[in-house]
Symmetry: C2
Subunit: 355 residues, 2 copies
């Protein structure tokens, strides 16, 4: 435990990060890299993709401004190499082995969020030891505490982003609401529960890698570590209706015992990502399901909708936003296009009610 | 994976088992031993508890008939020593180390369902290797598949026992319904998801020890291994409202995608076991919550109630049974006192509807 948290806060100390996406620089696969470019742009010195060298990260990903895309490690001076993709199957692409070894040989720490731990690979382990640098597996954890139904500090309002599916913007929505609230002078804190969020925030729990009996407890402990803040924006995972990942979703929901939920969805997505014949339930059904199970732990309701309109034109997105807001009777916005102000308003309104 | 399943089927081969409960022979702590005495009585040669030596298991636990309680290992000839308790904290009691080493030295295999694996203890490992016997940790698993929303065989009816709390009889209810259905000539199979169930059935998945992302997938794969049977009685875990264990409950529920649920509860229990200030929601609320989340995966409803009246007199239990049956509009029984016939009837009625 102590070691894991030290590793995490270590993550925030890196100021010259190279993001590795070599050969996999698509928006879906390179989600981690793109989010780091958006939320830690000042700490990123380059993207490494030999197939796209010479471009800027903005032209490649629409994020990160003029950050260069380089073809080899040693074109820039770096303190860490972050694995920037979530590869199909969860394992390191085979041709990346040489790149990782090369980084370690150059004294550069390597940070990974893969399910397969780099630190369990004896060749990597040896290289890191030999060159005195670190291999940090963000998903590694030894959470072993069961949740105790803790009463959190009364002045700590807990807001949790939940979704109708995976990869719809739960992390981004939490980060954007946090940013708006902080800009308004509120003591609001983002709480990370996935590998990318942890790389951004420097702290968190890789909740999908915790053993079943301890998922609720890991979430509860995580919230306890942050309850000195007035407002927590807790990143959600999966979906209560997801055939594969609902265990993680509910354990996290019960462990963090939110006061309010923000429901995130992608406009136009009707089938579960990766299970393309399985329909996603209607939003109305999901609102009812989330409120019903969340309230088993703590009185809770959905207070706003974060619409992800990435596949829509501005006009289509505006129509969709009005439609969904009217249908569910809740404030709605696309946090990228519209900013997160209406959701920040909903958070503060909920706090007003609770006082 | 293969190794784990081999170990499990191995469990059924033991015919001369000693159950170790030394110093912990209370009904709550010795749950594993008591269940093995009930469901594998013919394979048990003794209970080992030096503080109760000379008694019979029936006088000690109300189960297992004349099975002797012995004070030392070598009073009976045995092929396996099963750890018969779920100790507070999950670790092996310190004074048991000598007993386990003694068993291994005598060529007796040791089987454990503890969270702390005996096989990870170098002293035990060495002793097992030296004497050519086996250490089987029933909870060890390397489940790594995500659920795929499989369409199970149409003729396979899946019934899942769920609860209002832990330790209310979900395993026993599944076993008793299975027995009644088998006696009626049905091809009904008990499917184990916890350490005691696995020790009884010789197969199963220790679902609470699976990593979060793979809980749903482990349950799905388990059902696939048994879908050649006409009726599955799948053991439930925890409760959808349990502050600590709801992740496991929901992942299992979605992974096995039941057609019908049996709701198990203990009459008079109002607070969560182990979290004594936290009230358990009313049964009506739980029926609605279970049906709502289960149906996100597969159309499903609660078809019967298994009432555990262990703290009641026969008269009190009869009154309670009528009351709960009327309140919920569902058949109800105490499977120990009344047998499981009315629940078996409900299972067959559901199958009739589905045809």
């Amino acid at each position: 435990m102590a070691a894991a948290h030290e590793d995490e806060s270590e993550l925030k100390r890196y100021r010259r990060i190279i993001l590795l996406t070599d050969g996999f620089s698509t928006p879906f696969l390179a989600k981690t890299a793109i989010s780091l470019l958006r939320y830690r742009q000042n700490d990123i010195v380059a993207v490494l993709d030999s197939t796209e060298a010479g471009r800027t990260s903005d032209s490649l990903f629409g994020a990160g401004g003029a950050t260069p895309v380089v073809g080899t490690l040693h074109e820039v001076e770096a303190d860490a190499l972050f694995i920037g993709i979530a590869p199909p199957g969860g394992a390191l692409p085979e041709h990346w082995r040489a790149i990782v070894l090369n980084a370690l040989a150059g004294g550069i720490d390597v940070v990974s969020g893969l399910h397969d731990f780099l630190g369990d690979d004896s060749e990597f382990r040896r290289a890191a030891d030999e060159h005195g640098c670190r291999l940090i597996d963000v998903r590694r954890n030894d959470e072993r505490q069961t949740a105790q139904h803790e009463a959190f500090r009364e002045g700590c309002l807990r807001i949790h982003t939940v979704g109708h599916d995976c990869s719809v913007g739960k992390m981004v929505t939490a980060l954007e609401i946090q940013r708006v609230l902080a800009d308004r002078g509120e003591d609001a804190q983002f709480v990370a529960t996935g590998q990318t969020g942890i790389m951004i925030a420097g702290d968190g729990v890789p909740i999908d890698c915790v053993v079943g009996d301890f998922v609720n407890g890991a979430a509860e402990t995580l919230v306890q570590r942050h309850e000195q803040h007035d407002i927590l924006l807790i990143e959600g995972q999966g979906s209560i209706s997801h055939p594969s990942f609902s265990a993680v979703t509910l354990g996290l929901l019960h462990g963090c015992a939110p006061d309010g939920l923000i429901l995130c969805y992608e406009a136009g997505r009707e089938m579960v990502k990766g299970l393309d014949e399985i329909p996603i339930p209607p939003l109305q059904t999901l609102v009812a399901a989330y409120e019903s199970v969340a309230t088993l732990r703590n009185p809770c309701r959905v207070i706003g909708i974060a619409m992800n309109g990435r596949k829509q034109s501005a006009e289509e997105a505006a129509v969709e936003r009005e439609r969904v807001s009217a249908e569910l009777g809740l404030p709605a916005c696309d946090v990228y296009r519209d900013g997160a102000d209406v959701l920040a308003d909903a958070v503060l309104a909920l706090r007003g009610e609770r006082r």
